[in-house]
């Protein structure tokens, strides 16, 4: 049942994955996600608090700030958890909360209280970047102007994944001294979160509007300008790795269902999986999936260990998984045939999720452009 994102997990990692899988299957299996997609209420606070107790939200946080990981590489642990989540279409801002927690952990003390709530699953958060640095073209941008003791934020950003349930947002804004990031509470004056419809009915996407929202200097994360640009890049890379890990889990399960179908579906007196047309399609798809798993794990490992090629691998992972994931879900659809075209079959839930994940936290084009920037840079 495990997605095996890690080829050889340690015992501690395996324990984290086993408890996470059991928690999901007991609490929010795909059948319940489907109910939420059809209109039932989303996961409650208990879901996130239990998840917090399993360690989901502290993996990228220093121990000094209350975090902790299963191995010496928290991002690798988080990616492995993300894959199990993605296989079961878990909703909620897992990626966003971890990205924010990671940023706040680096920023340190001033955000200790929020950080503690995030780690414990008592609050969720996500990152509102919009079109900053070109990440999501057309999504809108936030501007910040300085006032005594802080900044005033204005603007609207669309396409914020899983923003509905968040208590706090890490907002990237264009400020007087370049890029600036600040933490805002979603219930603060001048902040409005508006739901959007979308192809992925297992997640809640929204738009965030800031209308003269005030933040104090103590809400600013990192030094505005080039320092924040570097933070931005790292956040985008972490988000890419985690959303790819979720997507790889989703691909894994869509593929697993197609494989099972090919073994039991009979046509022309044979299981359809005995035909080379289906067998070879699945073999090629499996190759893509194994490459995706290998690449996402490698990116998590390198980026989590601050290796020199971590960012490059993260961009490559998003480019590969974002584009080839669409091919994989098409191949699965072809194996399902007509049954995959019915609402009752789960395939479309996976297909929808993958289409949305492909552009979340930077479409493949954006990540490819980041790699192009590095051409010729030895």
């Amino acid at each position: 049942m495990s997605t095996r994102l890690l080829a050889a997990p340690t015992a501690e990692q395996q324990l984290l994955l086993d408890t996470s899988e059991r928690f999901i299957e007991d609490t929010l299996p795909v059948s319940k996600v489907r109910e939420i997609a059809e209109g039932a209420p989303g996961p409650d606070g208990a879901y996130f608090e239990t998840a917090g107790s399993l360690g989901w939200f502290g993996l990228l946080v220093d121990e000094a700030h209350g975090g902790g990981s299963a191995s010496d590489n928290g991002l690798l642990d988080a990616a492995a958890v993300a894959a199990e989540r993605g296989a079961r279409l878990q909703p909620g801002p897992f990626v966003g909360t971890n990205v924010v927690a990671s940023a706040l952990s680096r920023a340190g003390a001033p955000f200790g209280k929020l950080l503690a709530r995030l780690i414990a699953g008592q609050a969720r958060a996500t990152w509102v970047a919009g079109a900053a640095r070109g990440l999501t073209p057309g999504a809108g941008e936030i501007t910040a102007r300085a006032e005594t003791g802080g900044y005033v934020l204005d603007g609207e950003v669309r396409h914020v994944q899983e923003v509905a349930d968040c208590e706090a947002l890490l907002v990237t804004a264009r400020g007087p001294a370049g890029l600036l990031q600040a933490v805002v509470a979603t219930d603060a004056p001048g902040i409005e979160v508006r739901p959007l419809d979308g192809i992925d009915i297992t997640r809640r996407t929204g738009a965030v509007r800031l209308d003269g929202a005030r933040v104090g200097a103590d809400a600013v994360v990192g030094a505005p300008g080039s320092d924040t640009e570097a933070l931005f890049d790292r956040q985008a890379q972490i988000a890419a790795v985690l959303v790819c890990a979720e997507a790889v889990g989703t691909l894994h399960r869509d593929f697993e269902l197609a494989l099972e179908h090919a073994k039991v579906r009979i046509a022309f007196g044979r299981p359809i999986g005995s035909f080379q047309a289906i067998k070879h399609l699945l073999a090629d798809t499996s190759l893509t999936l194994e490459m995706a798993k290998g690449l996402v794990a490698a990116a998590a490992e390198a980026l989590g260990a601050d290796a020199a090629n971590g960012g490059e691998l993260a961009h490559a992972a998003k480019a590969f998984v974002g584009e080839r994931g669409i091919d994989v879900t098409h191949a699965c659809f072809q194996v399902f045939g007509g049954i995959g075209y019915t609402w009752e079959h789960d395939h479309h839930l996976y297909m929808r999720r993958l289409a949305a994940d492909a552009v979340a936290f930077g479409a493949p084009q954006w990540h490819r452009a980041r790699l192009a920037d590095r051409i010729g840079v030895a």
Binding site: I36, A37, E38, G39, G42, T136, P137, G138, A139, R158, H159, A164, P195, L196, D197, G198, I199, D200, I201, R204, T205, I266, A267, F268, G269, R270, P271, S274, F275, A277, I278, I326, H330, F333, Q334, G337, G338, I339, G340, Y341, T342, W343, E344, H347, H348, M351, R352, A355, A356, A358, V359, A363, P364, Q365
Partner: protein, 462 residues
């Protein structure tokens, strides 16, 4: 938050089940009536016919509204006015212009039909949605080719009078690509037939009156040999029609369940156990609409106008990557149109090859439609996957629908087999079900080992 691309009329949870009460009622009411069409006047000529049609159309029909979306998915009640409109055509002698007089048609030549079509172009004709095509271009022609005179006298006039809409009960949940692998069965009992099983992917069955149903009537012969077609009243006792909710939220297709449905010999189309012959006729009519004489003249102008508009709407028309994406789609688009024109030429040069060569057009759709939908998704970016509540996510819906032609009406794999064996002349796939009782085929398939029995010496060395 559950809002999706487009879910117009289907309740959010589960699928609608209808037992097609309305058509059944209509049917009971008119069971015995066989409408009679007027005979064409003596000495009719295409010119006189045209003048007569022109006058009648002007007096009786409303002008066409080209911007109207057309009937596609509708409630049963919406069909009643269309039926009435068709009845007026019938009563005026403009339905079934080329169909035999004895079955309610006009028995005239194709030039009369062309004349009527030209005159009628500006008027709003009856619109039965997808069922109209199935009834008049697939099912009725198949009936005319194989039905007994008594059967045709009962059904065809009513079809022409708009009283009977007929769909196909052909595919099954366990027989998709393997069209002849039918498991729905009709058993002969006390002089009648008892139908049990299930059919699927019947377009618009929920507002049709009859389904032409392929059922197994002999399990102890090879699969193509024990099949029989029945005309099943949709409103008959034991028939349940369930609309299938599609991944794009629509529900045009249905699944039917047959629970001891009683049928008689009168309901049979063609001969008992000779249903595959009828099926092949039906498949030819089904494919008939696929390929026109060429796509050149109706080709849209310019470069992939829909994608250009999409790119403009998301503010990315100046992005070189997006422009190259659009050009790539355009190149495939024009190559597909040129293919269709070429196939038209090949078919005219060799009509016997038409059915096989048509597979290229189908495979082109099944291959390039998904690529085009993916390209649109990339161009649309974040705007393609989420949108303001209440708006339509058209790019997303097209993406979800993108594989339709790769699967429906013969999968890409079936087209490749057809091209490989019937156009290119490649050696056949080994067949494990063509020479054996279907009962045994089903039993052995469940314990497939890949082992091929050695040929008995006499046969192998023949």
């Amino acid at each position: 938050m559950a809002g999706t691309a487009n879910t117009p009329e289907v309740p959010a949870a589960g699928s609608a089940e209808v037992t097609a009460a309305a058509p059944a009622e209509v049917q009971t009411e008119v069971q015995t009536e066989v409408p009679v069409a007027p005979a064409p006047p003596d000495g009719e000529t295409p010119e006189r016919f045209r003048a007569r049609a022109r006058a009648w159309l002007a007096a009786n029909l409303e002008p066409a509204n080209p911007s109207a979306r057309g009937f596609r998915e509708s409630a049963v009640s919406d069909v009643a006015p269309e039926r009435a409109l068709h009845r007026r055509l019938f009563d005026a002698g403009f339905a079934g212009i080329t169909w035999p007089r004895e079955y309610g048609g006009q028995g005239l030549g194709p030039e009369y039909e062309r004349a009527f079509a030209e005159e009628a172009r500006a008027y709003r004709l009856p619109d039965f949605g997808i069922v109209g095509g199935t009834t008049f271009r697939v099912c009725a022609p198949t009936m005319l080719a194989h039905g007994s005179p008594a059967f045709l006298r009962r059904h065809i006039p009513r079809i022409l009078a708009g009283q009977e809409l007929v769909v196909q009960f052909f595919s099954e949940p366990d027989a998709g690509s393997d069209l002849a692998g039918v498991r729905t069965q009709a058993v002969r009992e006390d002089g009648r037939w008892v139908l049990n099983g299930s059919k699927i992917w019947s377009s618009g069955a929920y507002y049709a009156d009859y389904g032409l149903c392929l059922a197994r009537t002999d399990w102890d012969v090879p699969k193509h040999r024990g099949l029989t077609w029945f005309a099943v009243p949709v409103g008959a006792s034991g028939v349940t029609v369930r609309r299938i909710r599609q991944i794009n939220g629509g529900s045009q297709f249905c699944q039917e369940f047959f629970d001891d449905v009683a049928l008689t010999d009168d309901d049979i189309v063609g001969e008992v156990n000779n249903g595959w012959t009828v099926a092949q006729t039906m498949l030819i009519f089904e494919r008939g609409g696929g390929i026109g004489p060429g796509g050149g003249s109706s080709a849209p102008k310019g470069i992939a106008a829909d994608l250009v508009e999409l790119a403009r709407s998301v503010g990315r028309l100046d992005d070189p990557a997006v422009r190259d994406e659009i050009v790539g789609v355009h190149v495939n688009d024009v190559a597909r149109r040129a293919l269709v024109a070429r196939l038209g030429g090949l078919m005219r040069a060799d009509p016997a090859s038409a059915a096989h060569v048509a597979s290229y057009a189908k495979l082109a759709m099944g291959t390039y439609d998904p690529l085009r939908a993916n390209a649109a998704l990339r161009i649309g970016g974040a705007d393609a996957v989420s949108w303001p509540v209440g708006e339509e996510g058209r790019t997303a819906a097209a993406f979800l629908d993108g594989r339709f032609m790769a699967i429906a009406g013969g999968t890409n794999e079936m087209q490749r087999n057809g091209i490989g064996e019937r156009v290119l002349g490649l050696p056949r796939e080994p067949s494990f079900d063509s020479g054996r009782p279907f009962r045994d085929v089903l039993r052995d398939a469940s314990t497939w080992t890949g082992r091929v029995p050695a040929a008995p010496p006499s046969e192998g060395r023949a």
